[in-house]
Amino acid sequence: MFRRILIANRGEIAVRIIRACREQGINTIAVYSSADQDCLHASLADESICIGPPSAKESYLNTAAIIAAAEICDAHAIHPGYGFLSENAQFAQVCRDCHIGFIGPSPDAISLTGDKAKCREVVAAAGVPVVPGSDGIIQDPAEAVRLANEIGFPVLVKASAGGGGKGMRIAHNDAALQKAVVAAANEAKAAFGDGGVYLEKFVENARHVEVQILADEHGKAITVGERECTVQRRHQKLIEEAPAFGLTNALRSKLNKAALRATKAVGYTNAGTAEFLLSPDGSFYFIEFNARIQVEHPVTEEISGIDLVGQQIRIASGEPMGSVSFKPQGWAIEARVYAEDPENNFAPSPGKIRRCHIPGGPGIRVDSHIFPSYTVPPFYDSLIAKVIARGADRDQAIIRLVGALNEFTAVGIHTTARLCATIVDSGRFRRGELTADLVDFFVN
Protein backbone atom coordinates (compact mmCIF):
# COMPACT_ATOMS: atom_id res chain seq x y z
CA MET A 1 0.00 0.00 0.00
CA PHE A 2 1.18 3.52 -0.76
CA ARG A 3 2.17 5.42 2.37
CA ARG A 4 2.66 8.88 0.83
CA ILE A 5 0.42 10.21 -1.92
CA LEU A 6 0.78 13.46 -3.82
CA ILE A 7 -2.47 15.01 -5.01
CA ALA A 8 -2.00 16.66 -8.40
CA ASN A 9 -5.16 18.70 -8.21
CA ARG A 10 -6.92 21.45 -6.26
CA GLY A 11 -10.38 22.39 -4.96
CA GLU A 12 -13.01 20.02 -3.67
CA ILE A 13 -11.57 16.89 -5.31
CA ALA A 14 -8.16 17.48 -3.71
CA VAL A 15 -9.93 17.78 -0.34
CA ARG A 16 -11.91 14.62 -1.10
CA ILE A 17 -8.72 12.69 -1.88
CA ILE A 18 -7.00 13.97 1.26
CA ARG A 19 -9.95 12.72 3.34
CA ALA A 20 -9.78 9.32 1.64
CA CYS A 21 -6.04 9.09 2.32
CA ARG A 22 -6.54 10.13 5.94
CA GLU A 23 -8.94 7.22 6.38
CA GLN A 24 -6.28 4.79 5.26
CA GLY A 25 -3.51 6.38 7.29
CA ILE A 26 -1.73 7.63 4.17
CA ASN A 27 0.33 10.82 4.31
CA THR A 28 -0.74 13.46 1.84
CA ILE A 29 1.25 16.02 -0.13
CA ALA A 30 -0.68 18.88 -1.66
CA VAL A 31 0.69 20.85 -4.58
CA TYR A 32 -0.55 24.35 -5.22
CA SER A 33 -0.06 27.24 -7.57
CA SER A 34 0.95 30.59 -6.11
CA ALA A 35 -2.72 31.66 -6.51
CA ASP A 36 -3.79 28.82 -4.22
CA GLN A 37 -1.52 29.19 -1.23
CA ASP A 38 -4.48 29.79 1.11
CA CYS A 39 -6.49 26.90 -0.33
CA LEU A 40 -8.09 24.28 1.87
CA HIS A 41 -6.27 21.41 0.18
CA ALA A 42 -2.93 23.03 0.98
CA SER A 43 -4.02 23.43 4.64
CA LEU A 44 -5.47 19.95 5.12
CA ALA A 45 -2.65 17.95 3.57
CA ASP A 46 0.21 16.78 5.76
CA GLU A 47 2.65 18.66 3.55
CA SER A 48 2.23 21.17 0.78
CA ILE A 49 4.48 22.57 -1.87
CA CYS A 50 4.17 25.42 -4.34
CA ILE A 51 4.72 24.18 -7.89
CA GLY A 52 4.25 27.23 -10.06
CA PRO A 53 2.46 30.44 -10.94
CA PRO A 54 -1.36 30.73 -11.21
CA SER A 55 -1.62 29.61 -14.84
CA ALA A 56 -2.72 25.96 -14.83
CA LYS A 57 -0.38 25.23 -17.71
CA GLU A 58 2.60 26.19 -15.53
CA SER A 59 1.34 24.54 -12.36
CA TYR A 60 -1.41 21.88 -12.25
CA LEU A 61 -0.79 20.88 -15.87
CA ASN A 62 3.00 21.06 -15.55
CA THR A 63 4.23 17.48 -15.59
CA ALA A 64 7.84 18.40 -14.77
CA ALA A 65 6.84 20.47 -11.74
CA ILE A 66 4.54 17.80 -10.38
CA ILE A 67 7.03 14.99 -10.85
CA ALA A 68 9.77 17.12 -9.27
CA ALA A 69 7.49 17.79 -6.31
CA ALA A 70 6.71 14.08 -6.00
CA GLU A 71 10.41 13.23 -6.03
CA ILE A 72 11.37 15.92 -3.52
CA CYS A 73 8.59 14.85 -1.16
CA ASP A 74 9.21 11.16 -1.71
CA ALA A 75 5.65 10.47 -2.84
CA HIS A 76 4.88 6.82 -3.56
CA ALA A 77 2.00 7.65 -5.85
CA ILE A 78 0.11 10.52 -7.47
CA HIS A 79 -3.65 10.92 -7.50
CA PRO A 80 -4.62 13.14 -10.43
CA GLY A 81 -8.27 13.77 -9.43
CA TYR A 82 -10.41 14.78 -12.42
CA GLY A 83 -9.56 17.30 -15.11
CA PHE A 84 -5.97 18.61 -15.32
CA LEU A 85 -3.63 15.62 -15.92
CA SER A 86 -6.11 12.91 -14.99
CA GLU A 87 -6.66 11.64 -18.53
CA ASN A 88 -3.22 12.42 -19.90
CA ALA A 89 -1.64 9.14 -21.01
CA GLN A 90 1.78 10.73 -21.30
CA PHE A 91 1.66 11.87 -17.68
CA ALA A 92 0.64 8.39 -16.54
CA GLN A 93 3.57 7.02 -18.53
CA VAL A 94 6.03 9.49 -16.97
CA CYS A 95 4.85 8.43 -13.51
CA ARG A 96 5.47 4.82 -14.48
CA ASP A 97 8.94 5.66 -15.86
CA CYS A 98 9.78 7.49 -12.62
CA HIS A 99 8.53 4.56 -10.51
CA ILE A 100 5.76 6.66 -9.00
CA GLY A 101 2.36 5.01 -8.78
CA PHE A 102 -0.34 6.58 -10.92
CA ILE A 103 -3.78 6.27 -9.33
CA GLY A 104 -5.80 5.52 -12.41
CA PRO A 105 -5.75 3.15 -15.37
CA SER A 106 -2.74 2.17 -17.49
CA PRO A 107 -1.36 4.66 -20.04
CA ASP A 108 -2.66 2.39 -22.82
CA ALA A 109 -6.20 2.40 -21.45
CA ILE A 110 -6.07 6.18 -21.12
CA SER A 111 -4.88 6.51 -24.71
CA LEU A 112 -7.61 4.27 -26.02
CA THR A 113 -10.48 5.83 -24.04
CA GLY A 114 -9.15 9.28 -24.91
CA ASP A 115 -9.43 8.53 -28.63
CA LYS A 116 -13.22 8.57 -28.67
CA ALA A 117 -13.65 7.35 -32.25
CA LYS A 118 -11.27 4.44 -31.71
CA CYS A 119 -12.82 3.58 -28.33
CA ARG A 120 -16.27 3.53 -29.94
CA GLU A 121 -15.00 1.07 -32.54
CA VAL A 122 -13.40 -1.24 -29.99
CA VAL A 123 -16.45 -1.25 -27.73
CA ALA A 124 -18.81 -1.83 -30.66
CA ALA A 125 -16.66 -4.76 -31.76
CA ALA A 126 -17.18 -6.27 -28.29
CA GLY A 127 -20.93 -6.37 -28.98
CA VAL A 128 -21.99 -3.24 -27.08
CA PRO A 129 -24.53 -1.10 -28.94
CA VAL A 130 -23.13 2.24 -30.05
CA VAL A 131 -24.94 5.09 -31.71
CA PRO A 132 -25.02 4.46 -35.47
CA GLY A 133 -22.29 6.51 -37.09
CA SER A 134 -18.89 6.47 -38.71
CA ASP A 135 -16.31 3.75 -38.20
CA GLY A 136 -13.65 5.96 -36.69
CA ILE A 137 -12.55 9.33 -38.03
CA ILE A 138 -14.23 10.72 -41.11
CA GLN A 139 -11.89 11.96 -43.78
CA ASP A 140 -13.92 14.62 -45.58
CA PRO A 141 -17.34 16.34 -45.60
CA ALA A 142 -18.54 14.28 -48.55
CA GLU A 143 -18.04 11.04 -46.63
CA ALA A 144 -20.00 12.55 -43.75
CA VAL A 145 -22.89 13.48 -46.02
CA ARG A 146 -23.00 10.00 -47.57
CA LEU A 147 -23.07 8.39 -44.16
CA ALA A 148 -25.62 10.80 -42.72
CA ASN A 149 -28.04 9.98 -45.52
CA GLU A 150 -27.57 6.32 -44.68
CA ILE A 151 -28.23 6.57 -40.95
CA GLY A 152 -30.65 9.52 -41.15
CA PHE A 153 -30.53 13.11 -39.92
CA PRO A 154 -30.07 14.80 -37.51
CA VAL A 155 -26.47 13.82 -36.82
CA LEU A 156 -23.76 14.91 -34.39
CA VAL A 157 -20.24 15.77 -35.43
CA LYS A 158 -17.90 15.10 -32.50
CA ALA A 159 -14.22 15.66 -31.86
CA SER A 160 -12.37 12.41 -31.32
CA ALA A 161 -10.15 14.02 -28.70
CA GLY A 162 -13.10 16.00 -27.34
CA GLY A 163 -14.80 16.67 -24.07
CA GLY A 164 -17.08 19.26 -22.50
CA GLY A 165 -18.95 19.85 -25.76
CA LYS A 166 -15.95 21.38 -27.53
CA GLY A 167 -15.75 20.49 -31.20
CA MET A 168 -19.33 19.21 -31.19
CA ARG A 169 -21.94 20.22 -33.77
CA ILE A 170 -25.46 19.10 -34.64
CA ALA A 171 -26.58 19.07 -38.29
CA HIS A 172 -30.04 18.57 -39.76
CA ASN A 173 -29.22 18.51 -43.49
CA ASP A 174 -26.46 18.07 -46.04
CA ALA A 175 -25.45 21.72 -46.26
CA ALA A 176 -25.34 22.23 -42.52
CA LEU A 177 -23.37 19.02 -42.10
CA GLN A 178 -20.69 20.04 -44.56
CA LYS A 179 -20.16 23.27 -42.65
CA ALA A 180 -20.33 21.49 -39.31
CA VAL A 181 -17.57 19.03 -40.21
CA VAL A 182 -15.18 21.83 -41.10
CA ALA A 183 -16.10 23.96 -38.10
CA ALA A 184 -15.88 21.06 -35.62
CA ALA A 185 -12.52 19.96 -37.00
CA ASN A 186 -11.13 23.48 -36.71
CA GLU A 187 -12.46 23.85 -33.17
CA ALA A 188 -11.09 20.45 -32.18
CA LYS A 189 -7.73 21.28 -33.70
CA ALA A 190 -7.60 24.53 -31.74
CA ALA A 191 -8.80 23.01 -28.45
CA PHE A 192 -7.04 19.63 -28.45
CA GLY A 193 -4.38 19.89 -31.14
CA ASP A 194 -6.17 17.06 -32.98
CA GLY A 195 -8.69 17.84 -35.68
CA GLY A 196 -10.13 14.33 -36.01
CA VAL A 197 -13.94 14.23 -35.95
CA TYR A 198 -16.47 11.43 -36.21
CA LEU A 199 -20.15 11.15 -36.89
CA GLU A 200 -23.00 9.89 -34.73
CA LYS A 201 -26.73 9.79 -35.23
CA PHE A 202 -28.33 12.35 -32.91
CA VAL A 203 -30.61 10.43 -30.54
CA GLU A 204 -33.52 12.73 -29.80
CA ASN A 205 -34.75 13.29 -26.25
CA ALA A 206 -32.07 10.96 -24.99
CA ARG A 207 -31.07 10.78 -21.36
CA HIS A 208 -27.44 10.56 -20.21
CA VAL A 209 -26.94 7.55 -18.00
CA GLU A 210 -23.51 6.36 -16.91
CA VAL A 211 -22.36 3.21 -15.16
CA GLN A 212 -19.65 3.29 -12.48
CA ILE A 213 -16.98 0.64 -12.88
CA LEU A 214 -14.38 -0.69 -10.48
CA ALA A 215 -11.77 -3.02 -11.97
CA ASP A 216 -8.72 -4.30 -10.14
CA GLU A 217 -5.42 -5.41 -11.63
CA HIS A 218 -6.18 -9.07 -11.02
CA GLY A 219 -9.03 -9.40 -13.50
CA LYS A 220 -11.97 -8.61 -11.26
CA ALA A 221 -14.39 -5.95 -12.49
CA ILE A 222 -17.73 -4.91 -11.00
CA THR A 223 -20.31 -2.25 -11.72
CA VAL A 224 -21.37 0.01 -8.87
CA GLY A 225 -24.69 1.00 -10.40
CA GLU A 226 -25.72 3.74 -12.75
CA ARG A 227 -26.03 7.51 -12.42
CA GLU A 228 -28.44 9.81 -14.15
CA CYS A 229 -26.65 12.88 -15.58
CA THR A 230 -29.16 14.29 -18.04
CA VAL A 231 -29.54 17.64 -16.34
CA GLN A 232 -26.76 19.60 -18.03
CA ARG A 233 -26.15 23.05 -19.32
CA ARG A 234 -23.95 23.34 -22.37
CA HIS A 235 -22.59 19.84 -21.70
CA GLN A 236 -21.73 20.76 -18.12
CA LYS A 237 -23.53 18.47 -15.72
CA LEU A 238 -25.48 20.32 -13.04
CA ILE A 239 -27.55 17.73 -11.18
CA GLU A 240 -26.82 14.00 -10.94
CA GLU A 241 -28.53 11.18 -9.16
CA ALA A 242 -28.23 7.51 -8.37
CA PRO A 243 -30.01 5.34 -9.22
CA ALA A 244 -31.44 6.59 -12.53
CA PHE A 245 -35.17 7.26 -12.45
CA GLY A 246 -37.68 4.76 -13.81
CA LEU A 247 -35.31 2.06 -15.11
CA THR A 248 -36.63 -1.49 -15.13
CA ASN A 249 -34.46 -4.14 -13.57
CA ALA A 250 -34.07 -5.76 -16.96
CA LEU A 251 -32.77 -2.54 -18.51
CA ARG A 252 -30.51 -1.92 -15.55
CA SER A 253 -29.04 -5.38 -15.85
CA LYS A 254 -28.44 -4.93 -19.60
CA LEU A 255 -26.70 -1.57 -18.98
CA ASN A 256 -24.45 -3.10 -16.34
CA LYS A 257 -23.50 -5.99 -18.62
CA ALA A 258 -22.75 -3.60 -21.49
CA ALA A 259 -20.60 -1.46 -19.19
CA LEU A 260 -18.62 -4.49 -18.03
CA ARG A 261 -18.13 -5.61 -21.59
CA ALA A 262 -16.84 -2.13 -22.51
CA THR A 263 -14.49 -2.24 -19.52
CA LYS A 264 -12.95 -5.52 -20.65
CA ALA A 265 -12.80 -4.38 -24.27
CA VAL A 266 -10.68 -1.33 -23.44
CA GLY A 267 -8.53 -3.22 -20.89
CA TYR A 268 -9.55 -0.90 -18.13
CA THR A 269 -8.45 -1.00 -14.51
CA ASN A 270 -9.24 1.30 -11.56
CA ALA A 271 -12.42 3.43 -11.25
CA GLY A 272 -14.01 4.47 -14.53
CA THR A 273 -17.34 5.29 -16.06
CA ALA A 274 -19.09 4.01 -19.16
CA GLU A 275 -21.42 6.67 -20.57
CA PHE A 276 -24.58 5.78 -22.43
CA LEU A 277 -27.38 7.56 -24.22
CA LEU A 278 -30.74 6.18 -23.17
CA SER A 279 -33.48 6.64 -25.74
CA PRO A 280 -37.11 7.12 -24.64
CA ASP A 281 -37.88 3.72 -26.23
CA GLY A 282 -35.52 1.97 -23.80
CA SER A 283 -32.72 1.32 -26.26
CA PHE A 284 -29.28 2.55 -25.19
CA TYR A 285 -25.98 3.30 -26.85
CA PHE A 286 -22.44 3.47 -25.51
CA ILE A 287 -20.92 6.89 -26.18
CA GLU A 288 -17.66 7.10 -24.26
CA PHE A 289 -15.55 5.85 -21.41
CA ASN A 290 -14.32 8.28 -18.73
CA ALA A 291 -10.95 7.20 -17.43
CA ARG A 292 -11.04 9.05 -14.10
CA ILE A 293 -13.03 9.53 -10.93
CA GLN A 294 -16.11 11.56 -11.87
CA VAL A 295 -17.22 14.79 -10.22
CA GLU A 296 -20.52 13.07 -9.42
CA HIS A 297 -19.02 9.96 -7.75
CA PRO A 298 -20.51 10.84 -4.31
CA VAL A 299 -24.07 9.89 -5.30
CA THR A 300 -22.83 6.36 -5.94
CA GLU A 301 -20.94 6.38 -2.64
CA GLU A 302 -24.03 7.52 -0.77
CA ILE A 303 -26.25 4.69 -2.03
CA SER A 304 -23.57 2.00 -1.88
CA GLY A 305 -21.44 2.84 1.14
CA ILE A 306 -18.39 2.17 -1.07
CA ASP A 307 -15.55 4.69 -0.81
CA LEU A 308 -14.70 5.00 -4.52
CA VAL A 309 -11.61 7.13 -3.99
CA GLY A 310 -10.37 4.70 -1.35
CA GLN A 311 -10.92 1.85 -3.83
CA GLN A 312 -8.95 3.74 -6.48
CA ILE A 313 -5.97 3.92 -4.16
CA ARG A 314 -6.16 0.27 -3.14
CA ILE A 315 -6.52 -0.89 -6.74
CA ALA A 316 -3.62 1.28 -7.96
CA SER A 317 -1.41 -0.14 -5.22
CA GLY A 318 -2.05 -3.58 -6.71
CA GLU A 319 -4.42 -4.92 -4.07
CA PRO A 320 -7.21 -7.22 -5.19
CA MET A 321 -10.72 -5.82 -4.70
CA GLY A 322 -11.75 -8.74 -2.58
CA SER A 323 -15.34 -8.87 -1.47
CA VAL A 324 -16.43 -5.37 -2.47
CA SER A 325 -19.94 -5.62 -3.84
CA PHE A 326 -22.74 -3.26 -4.73
CA LYS A 327 -25.84 -3.40 -2.53
CA PRO A 328 -27.64 -0.12 -3.18
CA GLN A 329 -29.84 1.50 -0.54
CA GLY A 330 -32.03 4.54 -0.96
CA TRP A 331 -31.49 7.43 -3.32
CA ALA A 332 -28.90 10.21 -3.63
CA ILE A 333 -28.88 13.43 -5.64
CA GLU A 334 -26.01 15.86 -6.11
CA ALA A 335 -26.22 19.51 -7.09
CA ARG A 336 -23.13 21.29 -8.32
CA VAL A 337 -22.65 24.74 -6.90
CA TYR A 338 -20.58 26.82 -9.29
CA ALA A 339 -19.30 30.33 -8.67
CA GLU A 340 -21.28 31.58 -11.64
CA ASP A 341 -24.12 34.02 -12.10
CA PRO A 342 -27.16 32.24 -13.57
CA GLU A 343 -28.86 35.60 -14.13
CA ASN A 344 -25.97 36.80 -16.24
CA ASN A 345 -25.52 33.92 -18.67
CA PHE A 346 -23.52 31.92 -16.09
CA ALA A 347 -20.66 34.38 -16.15
CA PRO A 348 -17.89 33.21 -13.81
CA SER A 349 -18.14 34.97 -10.46
CA PRO A 350 -14.73 34.74 -8.83
CA GLY A 351 -14.05 36.80 -5.72
CA LYS A 352 -13.84 36.73 -1.97
CA ILE A 353 -16.43 34.74 -0.03
CA ARG A 354 -16.86 37.08 2.90
CA ARG A 355 -19.14 34.78 4.85
CA CYS A 356 -20.61 31.38 4.16
CA HIS A 357 -23.04 28.88 5.58
CA ILE A 358 -22.66 25.23 4.67
CA PRO A 359 -25.85 23.22 5.26
CA GLY A 360 -25.83 20.08 7.43
CA GLY A 361 -28.19 17.74 9.25
CA PRO A 362 -29.54 14.29 8.36
CA GLY A 363 -28.80 12.99 4.89
CA ILE A 364 -26.70 15.96 3.81
CA ARG A 365 -23.11 15.64 2.61
CA VAL A 366 -21.14 18.59 1.33
CA ASP A 367 -17.88 18.20 -0.57
CA SER A 368 -16.32 21.63 -0.79
CA HIS A 369 -13.12 23.56 -0.34
CA ILE A 370 -14.62 26.94 0.49
CA PHE A 371 -14.43 28.65 3.87
CA PRO A 372 -15.13 32.18 5.07
CA SER A 373 -12.69 34.66 3.50
CA TYR A 374 -11.67 32.19 0.77
CA THR A 375 -11.15 33.91 -2.54
CA VAL A 376 -12.38 31.99 -5.59
CA PRO A 377 -9.56 32.55 -8.09
CA PRO A 378 -10.38 33.34 -11.73
CA PHE A 379 -7.89 30.80 -13.09
CA TYR A 380 -9.62 27.46 -12.65
CA ASP A 381 -12.92 25.60 -12.81
CA SER A 382 -15.67 27.46 -10.96
CA LEU A 383 -17.06 24.48 -9.01
CA ILE A 384 -17.06 25.49 -5.34
CA ALA A 385 -19.23 22.85 -3.69
CA LYS A 386 -21.17 19.70 -4.27
CA VAL A 387 -24.26 19.37 -2.11
CA ILE A 388 -25.38 15.76 -1.90
CA ALA A 389 -28.62 14.58 -0.30
CA ARG A 390 -29.38 10.99 0.63
CA GLY A 391 -32.87 9.69 1.35
CA ALA A 392 -34.79 6.48 1.75
CA ASP A 393 -36.39 7.30 -1.60
CA ARG A 394 -36.16 9.90 -4.36
CA ASP A 395 -38.78 12.19 -2.81
CA GLN A 396 -36.91 12.35 0.47
CA ALA A 397 -33.61 13.01 -1.29
CA ILE A 398 -35.26 15.80 -3.30
CA ILE A 399 -36.78 17.56 -0.32
CA ARG A 400 -33.56 17.32 1.65
CA LEU A 401 -31.51 18.65 -1.25
CA VAL A 402 -33.87 21.58 -1.86
CA GLY A 403 -33.72 22.51 1.83
CA ALA A 404 -29.93 22.29 1.92
CA LEU A 405 -29.50 24.30 -1.29
CA ASN A 406 -31.78 27.01 0.02
CA GLU A 407 -29.65 27.13 3.17
CA PHE A 408 -26.40 27.30 1.22
CA THR A 409 -25.01 30.80 1.47
CA ALA A 410 -21.85 32.39 0.10
CA VAL A 411 -21.80 36.15 0.56
CA GLY A 412 -19.66 38.01 -1.97
CA ILE A 413 -20.08 35.86 -5.08
CA HIS A 414 -22.91 34.53 -7.24
CA THR A 415 -23.60 30.80 -7.24
CA THR A 416 -25.85 28.25 -8.89
CA ALA A 417 -27.22 27.01 -5.54
CA ARG A 418 -30.65 28.64 -5.78
CA LEU A 419 -31.03 27.70 -9.43
CA CYS A 420 -30.30 24.08 -8.57
CA ALA A 421 -32.90 24.28 -5.78
CA THR A 422 -35.49 25.62 -8.20
CA ILE A 423 -34.81 22.87 -10.72
CA VAL A 424 -34.81 20.03 -8.19
CA ASP A 425 -37.96 21.40 -6.53
CA SER A 426 -39.82 21.67 -9.85
CA GLY A 427 -42.68 19.42 -10.86
CA ARG A 428 -40.75 18.38 -13.97
CA PHE A 429 -37.78 17.14 -11.98
CA ARG A 430 -39.97 15.52 -9.33
CA ARG A 431 -41.89 13.67 -11.99
CA GLY A 432 -38.63 12.51 -13.54
CA GLU A 433 -39.15 14.41 -16.78
CA LEU A 434 -35.42 14.72 -17.31
CA THR A 435 -34.43 16.22 -20.60
CA ALA A 436 -31.36 18.04 -21.82
CA ASP A 437 -33.26 21.35 -21.96
CA LEU A 438 -34.48 21.22 -18.34
CA VAL A 439 -31.98 23.84 -17.17
CA ASP A 440 -32.81 26.27 -19.96
CA PHE A 441 -36.44 26.11 -18.90
CA PHE A 442 -35.56 27.62 -15.53
CA VAL A 443 -32.93 30.08 -16.68
CA ASN A 444 -35.03 32.19 -19.04
Partner: protein
Protein backbone atom coordinates in the same frame (compact mmCIF):
# COMPACT_ATOMS: atom_id res chain seq x y z
CA UNK B 1 17.79 23.00 7.68
CA UNK B 2 18.70 19.51 6.59
CA UNK B 3 15.65 17.73 5.29
CA UNK B 4 16.99 14.28 6.08
CA UNK B 5 17.59 15.34 9.65
CA UNK B 6 14.07 16.62 9.86
CA UNK B 7 12.70 13.33 8.63
CA UNK B 8 14.79 11.53 11.23
CA UNK B 9 13.44 13.79 13.97
CA UNK B 10 9.92 13.07 12.81
CA UNK B 11 10.56 9.35 12.85
CA UNK B 12 12.02 9.60 16.36
CA UNK B 13 9.01 11.49 17.63
CA UNK B 14 6.58 9.18 15.89
CA UNK B 15 8.09 6.14 17.51
CA UNK B 16 8.19 7.75 20.94
CA UNK B 17 5.41 8.13 23.44
CA UNK B 18 5.93 11.90 23.37
CA UNK B 19 3.48 14.33 21.90
CA UNK B 20 5.79 17.19 21.16
CA UNK B 21 9.44 17.91 20.39
CA UNK B 22 11.13 21.27 20.17
CA UNK B 23 14.73 22.10 19.20
CA UNK B 24 16.21 25.55 19.02
CA UNK B 25 19.70 26.19 17.69
CA UNK B 26 21.47 29.06 16.02
CA UNK B 27 18.39 31.03 15.21
CA UNK B 28 16.43 28.18 13.72
CA UNK B 29 13.66 26.47 15.60
CA UNK B 30 11.91 23.20 14.97
CA UNK B 31 8.77 22.21 16.72
CA UNK B 32 7.08 18.92 16.07
CA UNK B 33 3.77 17.89 17.48
CA UNK B 34 1.64 14.80 16.98
CA UNK B 35 -1.64 15.27 15.18
CA UNK B 36 -3.86 13.35 17.59
CA UNK B 37 -3.51 16.04 20.21
CA UNK B 38 -3.23 18.97 17.89
CA UNK B 39 -2.34 19.24 14.25
CA UNK B 40 1.27 18.69 13.21
CA UNK B 41 3.16 21.84 12.48
CA UNK B 42 6.80 22.45 11.93
CA UNK B 43 8.73 25.24 10.42
CA UNK B 44 12.27 25.68 9.27
CA UNK B 45 13.72 28.91 8.02
CA UNK B 46 13.38 29.02 5.08
CA UNK B 47 11.41 25.80 4.65
CA UNK B 48 11.71 23.68 1.56
CA UNK B 49 8.04 22.96 1.92
CA UNK B 50 5.60 23.46 4.71
CA UNK B 51 3.56 21.04 6.75
CA UNK B 52 0.45 22.97 7.55
CA UNK B 53 -1.99 22.45 10.38
CA UNK B 54 -4.83 20.04 9.68
CA UNK B 55 -7.36 22.81 9.97
CA UNK B 56 -7.61 25.68 7.54
CA UNK B 57 -6.06 29.02 8.27
CA UNK B 58 -8.99 31.12 9.36
CA UNK B 59 -7.02 33.90 10.93
CA UNK B 60 -8.33 37.40 10.57
CA UNK B 61 -5.44 38.42 8.33
CA UNK B 62 -6.32 39.01 4.73
CA UNK B 63 -4.04 36.20 3.62
CA UNK B 64 -1.49 33.74 4.87
CA UNK B 65 2.10 34.83 4.71
CA UNK B 66 4.24 31.89 3.67
CA UNK B 67 7.67 31.42 5.16
CA UNK B 68 9.12 32.15 1.70
CA UNK B 69 7.28 35.44 1.63
CA UNK B 70 8.43 36.31 5.15
CA UNK B 71 12.07 35.68 4.20
CA UNK B 72 11.63 37.76 1.08
CA UNK B 73 10.07 40.63 2.98
CA UNK B 74 12.84 40.66 5.58
CA UNK B 75 15.50 40.77 2.91
CA UNK B 76 13.78 43.46 0.92
CA UNK B 77 13.41 45.56 4.06
CA UNK B 78 17.21 45.64 4.11
CA UNK B 79 17.37 47.24 0.65
CA UNK B 80 18.27 43.96 -0.98
CA UNK B 81 16.39 41.94 -3.59
CA UNK B 82 15.92 38.20 -3.88
CA UNK B 83 16.35 35.86 -6.78
CA UNK B 84 13.64 33.24 -6.51
CA UNK B 85 13.30 29.66 -7.71
CA UNK B 86 11.59 29.74 -11.13
CA UNK B 87 10.37 26.19 -10.62
CA UNK B 88 10.08 23.46 -8.03
CA UNK B 89 13.10 21.17 -7.92
CA UNK B 90 16.50 20.60 -6.33
CA UNK B 91 18.92 23.50 -5.95
CA UNK B 92 22.50 23.02 -7.09
CA UNK B 93 25.06 25.75 -6.44
CA UNK B 94 27.62 24.37 -8.91
CA UNK B 95 27.56 22.76 -12.40
CA UNK B 96 28.78 19.44 -10.94
CA UNK B 97 29.78 18.15 -7.51
CA UNK B 98 33.50 18.57 -8.28
CA UNK B 99 33.25 22.14 -9.46
CA UNK B 100 33.16 25.46 -7.68
CA UNK B 101 29.79 27.19 -7.07
CA UNK B 102 28.56 29.44 -9.86
CA UNK B 103 28.56 32.34 -7.40
CA UNK B 104 29.38 32.99 -3.75
CA UNK B 105 28.75 35.89 -1.35
CA UNK B 106 30.69 38.96 -2.42
CA UNK B 107 30.59 38.07 -6.12
CA UNK B 108 29.36 40.66 -8.56
CA UNK B 109 26.76 39.35 -10.97
CA UNK B 110 25.38 40.68 -14.22
CA UNK B 111 22.02 40.28 -15.94
CA UNK B 112 21.63 36.84 -17.57
CA UNK B 113 24.57 35.38 -15.69
CA UNK B 114 23.96 31.75 -14.64
CA UNK B 115 23.93 31.62 -10.84
CA UNK B 116 22.65 28.16 -10.02
CA UNK B 117 20.80 25.12 -11.30
CA UNK B 118 17.36 23.83 -10.34
CA UNK B 119 16.89 20.22 -11.29
CA UNK B 120 13.45 18.90 -12.10
CA UNK B 121 12.81 15.51 -13.70
CA UNK B 122 16.55 15.02 -14.29
CA UNK B 123 16.65 18.22 -16.31
CA UNK B 124 19.26 20.73 -15.15
CA UNK B 125 17.62 24.13 -15.50
CA UNK B 126 20.12 26.96 -15.37
CA UNK B 127 18.86 29.91 -13.38
CA UNK B 128 20.07 33.28 -14.58
CA UNK B 129 20.06 36.59 -12.80
CA UNK B 130 17.55 39.25 -13.79
CA UNK B 131 19.51 41.95 -11.91
CA UNK B 132 23.00 43.37 -11.79
CA UNK B 133 24.49 43.51 -8.33
CA UNK B 134 26.40 41.71 -5.62
CA UNK B 135 25.54 38.39 -4.00
CA UNK B 136 25.04 39.05 -0.28
CA UNK B 137 23.81 35.67 0.86
CA UNK B 138 22.98 32.23 -0.52
CA UNK B 139 19.70 31.28 1.14
CA UNK B 140 19.62 27.55 0.50
CA UNK B 141 22.11 24.74 0.87
CA UNK B 142 23.44 22.78 -2.03
CA UNK B 143 21.17 19.88 -3.10
CA UNK B 144 18.30 21.22 -1.05
CA UNK B 145 14.77 20.96 -2.47
CA UNK B 146 13.10 24.28 -3.26
CA UNK B 147 9.51 25.16 -4.11
CA UNK B 148 8.34 27.58 -6.79
CA UNK B 149 9.01 31.17 -5.76
CA UNK B 150 11.35 30.31 -2.90
CA UNK B 151 14.13 32.93 -2.45
CA UNK B 152 17.53 31.49 -3.39
CA UNK B 153 19.87 34.48 -3.20
CA UNK B 154 19.88 37.86 -1.50
CA UNK B 155 21.42 40.42 -3.84
CA UNK B 156 22.41 44.08 -3.39
CA UNK B 157 21.35 45.59 -6.70
CA UNK B 158 23.48 48.05 -8.59
CA UNK B 159 21.71 50.76 -10.50
CA UNK B 160 21.86 49.75 -14.17
CA UNK B 161 22.33 53.35 -15.37
Amino acid sequence: MDLEKLKELIAILEESGLSELEIEEEGSRIRLQKPSVQAATYSVAPPAYSAPAMNPDLSDDAGTITASQATKDAIEDGGLVTIDAPMVGVFYASPSPEEEPFVKPGDDITVDQTICIVEAMKLMNEVTSKVRGQIVRVLVDNAEPVEFGQPLFAVRPVDAS
